[in-house]
Subunit: 99 residues, 2 copies
């Protein structure tokens, strides 16, 4: 799974979990609605500044979006809570080759 | 810290940990040397396909690069081993607001 595809999924799930419409997220994230829609479908690349702006609009740290995108690229579900996050990362650790 | 800045640092550290020169990494990652240099310095955005190609050239899964970039954006050191990764993620979990 490509980075932009995983990021799009994570963004969409984050937005829905916050109960926001595309229109609300595009307004809060200072991003055109059509562009956000393409981003969520993994059709457009998202540069660093709009990524930060969008994360701010969604009320989530940008690093958390990126972190979760890495998990998604690895084929792991994106956890909602920190507790589950630790479990997932332990699964992830199993996937990482030991030195 | 912006995504491209954190990604650049992680890429550079990964390359150096593998003992590769810029020239070797650019050749293996199918990327122009000057462009890779700018990427590592956080001056250029990296699209999803060249990210995948570069990760392959460095011998590291793309999701691991992204995952570590998220850690770096959060201000955490990027661990070398899976064991340390779990410790770091537990630190990370402390940073994530509980539901």
């Amino acid at each position: 799974m490509l980075f932009r595809e995983a990021l799009g999924e994570v963004l969409r799930e984050t937005r829905l979990a916050k109960g926001m419409t595309l229109r609300q997220a595009s307004k809060k994230g200072c991003m055109a609605l059509g562009y956000l829609s393409e981003i969520e479908r993994g059709q457009k690349e998202l540069s660093s500044e709009p990524l930060r702006s969008l994360a701010y609009g969604l009320g989530i740290p940008a690093h958390e979006l990126v972190f979760k995108t890495g998990l998604r690229m690895a084929g792991l579900d994106v956890p909602d809570t920190a507790e589950v996050l630790v479990e997932r990362i332990e699964e992830y650790a199993d996937l990482v080759p030991q030195n």
